[in-house]
């Protein structure tokens, strides 16, 4: 309870967190909320504009795509893939990257040299190209997308956690723990990790936003999932092709993507501020 209060005092956490919670509920209950079947085609009703425009078809609030599929339902369903990728990919890369970062930052020596060199090599790949390449290698599908994101983005956690661990290790409280006789691993897990956690949690949130984007990019390039499954990136790619016939297929998933990424970002920054225990004097 003690940790919840300061979080609620940070407006960014409340607003962004609230939005993401809503999105999560939409993803879970999409079949009950969505007005239509997102896959149902009706070529008679292709390229219908949203209800605000003249010539709209009632019941299709955000219009239809060229195959007559309901844009609103597809956007709502798209949140399922986006959030699945966000949570799974971000948690997995956080676990791997944090372990590596802690090892490199705390134990130093060979562990640090090897891990840092690995990170250097990873950083020399353009991430988008590498993810496209990985999905090409692994074959398309949700698992591949998540695996590609984890394989690329563990370095993000590794770098942040390594730097933060090294900064914490220089502080006197760590030396104090050493003089008391705590073991190296006790100091790492019980003394240092709680102080690395705020930054880590913030980066997890940012990473969720990045994962959503990467999935969208892969869908956009046409590598992510089969076109049967509605994804925001896939819809955007489809909308990009027919942008002059109907902007709505392009715009609404883009708005959903933008809002989601913005929310993860603001949540992360808000958390970082709210979780800092010591008001710097």
């Amino acid at each position: 309870m003690k940790t919840i209060k300061p979080l609620l005092r940070e407006p960014r956490v409340v607003i962004a967190g609230g939005f993401l919670l809503l999105l999560l509920l939409i993803a879970i209950f999409a079949p009950y909320i969505a007005p239509k079947d997102p896959l149902e085609q009706d070529l008679m009703l292709g390229n219908m504009p949203p209800v605000t425009s003249p010539g709209a078809e009632p019941g299709y609030y955000l219009g239809t795509d060229d195959l007559g599929r309901d844009v609103l339902s597809r956007v709502l369903y798209g949140s399922r893939i986006a959030l699945t990728v966000a949570f799974v990919a971000a948690s997995l890369s956080a676990v791997i990257g944090t372990l590596m970062g802690l090892a490199a930052g705390w134990y130093g020596g060979w562990a640090d040299r090897i891990i840092s060199r690995l990170v250097d090599i990873w950083m020399a790949f353009p991430p988008v190209l590498l993810s496209v390449l990985l999905v090409a290698v692994l074959g398309s599908g949700l698992h591949s997308v998540i695996a590609a994101i984890v394989i690329i983005d563990w370095t993000r956690f590794c770098r942040v956690v390594r730097a933060e661990t090294m900064a914490q290790a220089r502080l006197d409280y760590v030396m104090a723990a050493e003089t008391i006789g705590f073991s190296r691993s006790h100091i790492l897990w019980r003394e240092i990790l709680p102080n690395v956690a705020p930054v880590l949690i913030a980066v997890v949130s940012l990473e969720m936003g990045i994962a959503v984007i990467v999935e969208a990019i892969l869908s956009f390039v046409g590598l992510s999932l089969s076109s049967d499954i509605p994804t925001w990136g896939g819809m955007i790619a489809q909308g990009r092709q027919m942008i002059h016939q109907g902007w709505w297929v392009f715009v609404f998933p883009l708005i959903a993507l933008f809002a989601t990424v913005l929310a993860f970002n603001q949540l992360g920054n808000g958390l970082r501020k709210a979780l800092d225990p010591v008001m710097r004097r």
Binding site: L171, D172, Y173, M175, A176, A177, E178, T179, I180, G181, F182, S183, R184, H186, E191, P194, N195, P277, V278, M279
Partner: protein, 281 residues
């Protein structure tokens, strides 16, 4: 059993040495040039010097908190110069440290209760949590802090209160030796007197040996039995306080003493030339 607790002979410490793949790497900076120091049981030895004198490094070298590049350190008859971190750990309880900056030396994520009870349990100094709590409350009373302090976080206390927690943490371990590194330099005069009195009384009651590092000769005189004057990583003068303060042998000690402004009117003090010094910096 010898009455000598700590004995350092020809201790050298070099910082920043590194081997490079090409060229010679970095030679590093030698900050201690063969320092001798002896501390008897129950005795408080002051280590005094200006910035760059190596006094803090010497203290940390005694506790093996910095790597020693030359010389030998014996603790209670045992040569600890080359002990590994694991081999040092059982000895850690017997040599404690109080830090200059009490804020940095207390883990900001832990409560005072955690900070004080966990070491007791680690070293088996308390039979159970309740016993640990009892001991901690007793020591809090001894350093004049109310029991509610236990539920506070470090940043909720004042500087003087934090430093008393630092003292409590050190003496709770029932050590033989305490290193006090500039423990009052951040405190106001009125708080400083209180903290020093507590430290002095506790060390007498418990028969503690203490290395008391300070830049302030007046504080050293008030607390210590013997004093070691350092400059540029070497010992300039060493002896019982009465001898060193009342009849200083080295020019440097005389220069230091002369430079201290005492709170009394002495019109000639400012203009009077300093005692001559061969190589004044």
């Amino acid at each position: 059993m010898s009455d000598l607790l700590f004995e350092a002979r020809g201790v050298e410490v070099t910082y920043g040495q590194s081997k490079g793949l090409f060229g010679h790497g970095r030679p590093g900076v030698r900050v201690l040039h063969g320092v001798d120091l002896a501390i008897r049981r129950g005795e408080t030895v002051g280590i005094v010097g200006e910035s760059g004198s190596g006094k803090t490094t010497l203290g940390r070298a005694l506790l093996k908190l910095v790597p020693v590049s030359g010389g030998a350190i014996r603790f209670d008859g045992q040569d600890i110069t080359n002990l590994s971190a694991d081999a040092m750990r059982p000895l850690r309880r017997r040599m404690q440290m109080i830090f200059q900056d009490p804020m940095a030396s207390l883990n900001p994520r832990h409560s005072i209760r955690q900070i004080l009870t966990e070491p007791l349990i680690l070293h088996g100094l308390a039979t159970d949590r309740r016993d640990a709590e009892r001991q901690v409350r007793a020591i809090l009373d001894r350093v004049s802090l109310p029991p509610v302090t236990l539920d506070r976080a470090p940043h909720e206390l004042s500087g003087g209160q934090r430093q008393r927690i630092g003292i409590a943490r050190a003496v709770l371990m029932k050590p033989d030796f305490v290193l006090a590194d500039e423990v009052v330099s951040g405190l106001d005069v009125s708080t400083q007197a209180q903290v020093l009195n507590i430290l002095k009384a506790l060390s007498q009651e418990m028969g503690l040996a203490m290395a008391f590092i300070s830049h302030d000769l007046s504080v050293i005189r008030a607390v210590c039995d013997r004093v070691t004057v350092m400059r540029f990583g070497e010992v300039v003068e060493e002896g019982p306080c009465e001898t060193v303060f009342d009849a200083p042998q080295s020019h440097y000690t005389r220069l230091l003493l002369d430079a201290i402004p005492l709170p009394e009117i002495d019109d000639g003090w400012l203009t009077r030339p300093a005692p001559s010094l061969e190589n004044a910096a």
